[in-house]
Symmetry: C2
Subunit: 238 residues, 2 copies
C-alpha cells in the first residue's frame, strides 16, 4: 500500500487521484462538521463549491427536507440555516435532513477529488475508522488536505497535517511520501498536547478570534465517532 499526501486542494491534480482511494481532510472545520452531521443522523450531505449553487439546488427541494449550511470567512452565509460549526449539527437539528454544504476549502476539496476510485471524509473525530478501513482494503491511497485560503493562495495548514499524522500512525506498513512522513513525525511529537501545538497556527487562531473556541476544542478530539462517510454520486452518506 502506498500513501501520498497533498497539503492543499490546489497542490494535487485529478490524475493524482485516479484509481485511488482519496481521503479528504479539513480539520477546521468542514470535514469535522460532515462527520458530526452524519454521526447525528442526517440523511445525506451534498457538498457544493459555490453559494449560488447551494441556493439553486435548494430550490428543487421541499423546504422541510433540507438545511443550507456553510461559511465564508468562517461565518454563517446570509440566508443559510447553519454555519460551518459542527456544534450546530446536533441530532435534533439534522436528523433525516439533506444538508447542502458549501465552505471555503473543504467542500471544494471533496469536489476536486471526483476522479478518485472512492472518496472518504476524514477528520480527527473519525480518524481510527478511516485508518481501519485503509488497513482492511490495503489499496493505494491519496490524502488530500483542504488547506486554508489566505489572500488568494491556499496554504499548508498544520491542523490538517496533524490529522494526516493521526491516520498514518494507525496504518500498518505503508510506503509513504515525504509529507505523510513529516505529518507522522509532527503528530507523534505533539499528540498529547494538540492545543499547545495549534496555538501558533493561522486558522486555529483565526477561529478563536471570531468566537469559535468551542469548535476548535471539539474538532481536535481524536477518534470519538466510529463512522466512515463516503462521497459518491454527488452526496455524502455514512
Amino acid at each position: 500500500m502506498r500513501i501520498d499526501t497533498y497539503e492543499t486542494l490546489d497542490s494535487a491534480s485529478p490524475r493524482d487521484f485516479a484509481d485511488k482511494i482519496t481521503i479528504v481532510i479539513d480539520t477546521l472545520r468542514a470535514t469535522s462538521t460532515i462527520v458530526t452531521a452524519i454521526n447525528n443522523g442526517c440523511k445525506e450531505i451534498i457538498p457544493v463549491s459555490e453559494v449560488e449553487e447551494a441556493l439553486s439546488l435548494a430550490q428543487n427541494l421541499d423546504r422541510d427536507t433540507y438545511l443550507l449550511g456553510g461559511e465564508r470567512n468562517g461565518v454563517l452565509i446570509e440566508g443559510f440555516d447553519l454555519s460551518n460549526s459542527p456544534l450546530e449539527y446536533t441530532s435534533d437539528v439534522v436528523k433525516g435532513k439533506t444538508i447542502i454544504l458549501t465552505t471555503t476549502n473543504g467542500t471544494k476539496a471533496i469536489k476536486k477529488a471526483s476522479s478518485a476510485k472512492e472518496i472518504i471524509i476524514c477528520s480527527m473525530l473519525n480518524v481510527k475508522a478511516v485508518a481501519d478501513y485503509l488497513n482492511e482494503v490495503k489499496m493505494d491511497a491519496v490524502i488530500l488536505c483542504a488547506g486554508t485560503e489566505g489572500k488568494g493562495t491556499r496554504k499548508f495548514s498544520l491542523e490538517d497535517v496533524i490529522t494526516v499524522g493521526a491516520v498514518i500512525s494507525r496504518i500498518d506498513g505503508a510506503d509513504i511520501d515525504d509529507l505523510s512522513y513529516a505529518s507522522l513525525l509532527l503528530y507523534r511529537e505533539n499528540r498529547h498536547d494538540l492545543h499547545n501545538l495549534m496555538q501558533n497556527c493561522f486558522h486555529y487562531k483565526y477561529l478563536i478570534s471570531i468566537g469559535y473556541k468551542d469548535d476548535v476544542d471539539f474538532c481536535l478530539q481524536e477518534d470519538i465517532f466510529d463512522i466512515l462517510p463516503k462521497y459518491y454520486n454527488g452526496t455524502i452518506k455514512g
Copy 2:
C-alpha cells in the same frame, strides 16, 4: 517581520513574492550547488529553466568563459560540462567562469520568484548567513522551496523543509505561518541526526540509488559557507 513558506515552486504565485525578500531553497541539490560554486569563485551563475535556453545562451559566449551545468532526472545532461553535483563545482573547475545552470526544480524556483524585491539563494550550507541577513534587514520574507517533481506533480520535500527550519530557528522573533512553524518543529527534533531523518525521504533515497551518496552527505552540512548569493538581473553573484 513576517515569514511565509511555500512548499513547492507551484504552491506560490507571483503576488506572494511582491515587495518581499524571497529565499529560494532546493537542498538536494540546486541551491547547494549554486552556493558551492559561488563559494569556490565562479564569476556568476545564470539559472535558466530549459536545456534549450542554456544551449542558446551559450552560443553567445566565448567557449572558455562558461560552463554548462545541470540535470534532468538527477543526471548530467548530454553535451553539458557538469551535472548538478556540488562536488564537481570545485575551485579549479569554476574559478572565474560563468555557469549556465538548469535543473528540474531549483532553477525554475529562482525564475518563478522574479517579482520579489530581492532573491537570496539558500541551502543548508549557508543557512546562518541567510538568517543573519534577515535578522539585519528585518523585512517581510517569503521562503520558496523548490520541491521535487514526481510524475508531473511537484511535491513537498522534507530536505527543503528541514533547511527552512534551520533558517527559522536562527531568526529573532518573526511572525511565521504554519509551514514555517512545522519546519521549525521538524528541524528542532531532528537536527542532530538529519541523515536518519532523511532515510525515509523520496529524493534523498533516489539520489543515493543513482550513486550520489557523497552529494547528499555534502548537502546536509550546516553552515559551512558564510556567503549570501543573490539573484539580480538574470544572474546570481556572491
